[in-house]
Each structure stands twice: as structure tokens, then as C-alpha cells.
Subunit: 193 residues, 2 copies
DNA sequence: TAGTGTTTTTGATAAATGTCAAAGGAAAAG
DNA sequence: CTTTTCCTTTGACATTTATCAAAAACACTA
């Protein structure tokens, strides 16, 4: 008798780092929902509390907030990675971060409350959670040291080197605020090659 | 018969968030080492791989690195919090971060390899690990948005408000690089009150 | 193809911050 | 108490980046 298992890229992403038992795997799948969304869809609207963790199977999301009337991109999230409104999910408090999709995307949603239950019941899922958060932390460290003492030009070149496809997929206005500079400055940096 | 349990502030710090069983507690204690260090002691020297997670019971540490000959403070760590050279511990690769003590301190050291074993054996300790990392991540988020689009003055006032005692305990030269500015600029910001 | 809206570039100028050098001040050492 | 060292402030100037306004390039639609 065959056991048909749909291939889910989610598990391909985490399996090199965390071993997930078959039981845990199906427990996870039971709380995960897969959706197709169009470009421009808002996953987390302004004022809403982010109650899910999202895994992006395909597509591209942007986490942003408005500060002094300016739209500031905090994070881009591409294929095979996780996103959520971090402080909101952890402290369960609304914050001003929104998440929108910049491309038609395939998203897996996991309700945070369900995930907490799985953390209780399955040690390996708790480990997966730790792994995901840790990875994110390492990533944040790199961004922090970028912003702390690199010039705008260094930051741009860094991005160009580490994430060249992002510049193809995202408009410069969004990239510039991600780098912590204005659009005009980014344009000038690009012109003086 | 009395069971004498020494009070360990470590557990006071985490217990509001993570419930640690007595078994796990003693397992943790068995791999934790408490030390007194003088001011100026170097926990993680240049080129060394950080193989421990440190919990600061008393005192103050500074994580820093040298970039273009300049000493850059990445993080301060005060009483009842954790520190380690993040990328080094996770990826187990040497990096250029050093950790030194700015005051005489009481430090609990946990070897990373031992901790990994405990993660395997004790679900609640794994949860504790997830909790610590998550907390750190929330904290990093705040710093990131500070650095991304706030002026030097805003950042200073922020620090003054959120962490006033740090300014009493640490010299301005170290604070300034933490804020991502030069010492002269910080001095001028302070003078124009 | 012309027309409309959006994104990117360019220009002129202002503001913020860095750099280098030196002078004060405070704290530690003799 | 004096000397030495370290920390902080001040000054003059250079550089980077922001701001505001407009032009140019591009993309989409009728």
C-alpha cells in the first residue's frame, strides 16, 4: 500500500537543520494552511495583530511601517523563508507593522496559538521554532552591523552582492528605505559606478 | 529533611516565562559555572570562538569589534541577561567579536555543547533556549528600527529614556559607537539640551 | 500611438554628521 | 599636592546624506 505524501517545500527548508518526526510533521500540516494570493494582497493590515507565522513557498513579501508619514521597509521575505510581525506575535500586542505581498505568492499560514500548542506537545517542533528564530537573529545581527557603521554606498553594494535578485524584483523606492536612505541618494549611488 | 536550594537569580529571570522542572533545573545547574571576574576581564578574546552562553548575574559586559581600526560597540549586557557571540555560537565559526567586562562581574557560563545536549534531553530547556533567543530578537528589532531611520539625537534620547543607568556606568566613547555615531557628535548632542 | 500614471534620475541647496586637532577636566598614580 | 593619563568638550572644516522641485524614463491602458 502506498502512502502518498505531497511534497511540501516547507519541510525541505527546515529538514537540513531540524529533524521532524512523521507524527510532528502531520501535526504541523494540520494547522498549516496553504493559500495563493495576488500581488498587493495585505497579509497583516495596519492596526491588526499578526496572529500567524507565514512561510513563503513562492513570491515575495514586504514588512513595513509608517514613520513621520514616510513608508519604511523593515524587511523583505522571499521564497523558503518565514515572516511575521515579530513584536506583535511575541508580546501579542498590536504594532504598526504591516505585511504586504509584492508578487503573486503561495503562502503557508500557521496560527500562532496553534503553534504554541504544538510547541507544548512536540519537542521537535519547539526545536524548529528555536531554529527559525535563531536564524532570524543571526540575520538581524548582520543587518544591524550594516546600519551601525557602514556608509550608504557600502550597504548598497552589500545588498547587491548578497541579494542581487531582490534589486530586480523590487522598486528602488522600497529598497532605499530598507537600506535606511532616501530614494534620491540610492539613485545617485547607483549612477556613480 | 530540608532540601537546601541556593537561590540562583538565573532562574528568577526565566521562570516568569518558562517553567523549568526540578530535574531540568539541576541538569542546568550541573553545566553552569559561576565565576567572579574583575573589571576589564575578557570573556571572549579576538579570534577566539565563543563556546559559551553567559548569564550576567551582576556587572556589565560589552560586545565589540574593530572595523577599519575603529572600536565599535555592538551590545551592552547588564544584570539578569544573556550574552554570547551570536554568529559564532550558532554557526560555530570564529568571528571578530570580543566580549569584555566593564565592571567587576558575576558570570554564569554554560558551554554551548553541553547546552545542546540538554536541549536534546529536556523539552523545557529547549523552550528556555527559544525564549531567550526570541527575547533577544525582539530587542534587536527595536535597535534596528532605531538605526534605520532615526537621527542621532533621537537615538540618544531613546537610550536616555530606556536605559538611563547605562549612561552613568559607561564612558561616552563606548556609548557613541553603540549609537552608531562618533564621540564628538554625541558630545555635541548632549550639550545642546 | 497618444495619453496617463508611476518610477527613476538630476539639480540646487540645506542639514546632519564625520574628521582632525587641540584644549579643558576629571580621575588615578606617584 | 603634583603629575600623568584618560575622558570629554570645543572649533574649523570636509563629507555625506536629506530635502524640495522638476525633468526624464518607463509601463500600462485606451
Amino acid at each position: 500500500m502506498f502512502k502518498t505524501e505531497k511534497k511540501v517545500s516547507f519541510f525541505d527548508t527546515i529538514s537540513p537543520f531540524v529533524k521532524i518526526s512523521p507524527k510532528s510533521r502531520s501535526a504541523l500540516l494540520s494547522v498549516m494552511q496553504k493559500d495563493h494570493y495576488p500581488k498587493g494582497h495585505v497579509l497583516v493590515p495596519l492596526g491588526g495583530i499578526c496572529r500567524h507565522v507565514y512561510y513563503i513557498e513562492k513570491g515575495l513579501s514586504r514588512t513595513f511601517y509608517i514613520k513621520d508619514g514616510k513608508d519604511i521597509t523593515e524587511k523583505f521575505c522571499t521564497e523558503n523563508s518565514f515572516t511575521c510581525s515579530m513584536p506583535a506575535s511575541i508580546v501579542n500586542v498590536p504594532d504598526n507593522r504591516q505585511i504586504e505581498l509584492l508578487e503573486p505568492s503561495i503562502i503557508w499560514s500557521m496560527p500562532y496559538t496553534e503553534l504554541e500548542k504544538l510547541y507544548d506537545d512536540y519537542h521537535d517542533i519547539e526545536r524548529m521554532g528555536r531554529f527559525v528564530v535563531t536564524n532570524e537573529l543571526v540575520h538581524m545581527h548582520q543587518r544591524l552591523s550594516d546600519l551601525q557603521f557602514r556608509s550608504a554606498e557600502e550597504r548598497y553594494n552589500n545588498l547587491l552582492q548578497k541579494n542581487p535578485d531582490l534589486l530586480q524584483r523590487v522598486s528602488l523606492g522600497l529598497i532605499s528605505s530598507y537600506l535606511g536612505i532616501t530614494q534620491e541618494t540610492l539613485s545617485r549611488i547607483r549612477s556613480r559606478v
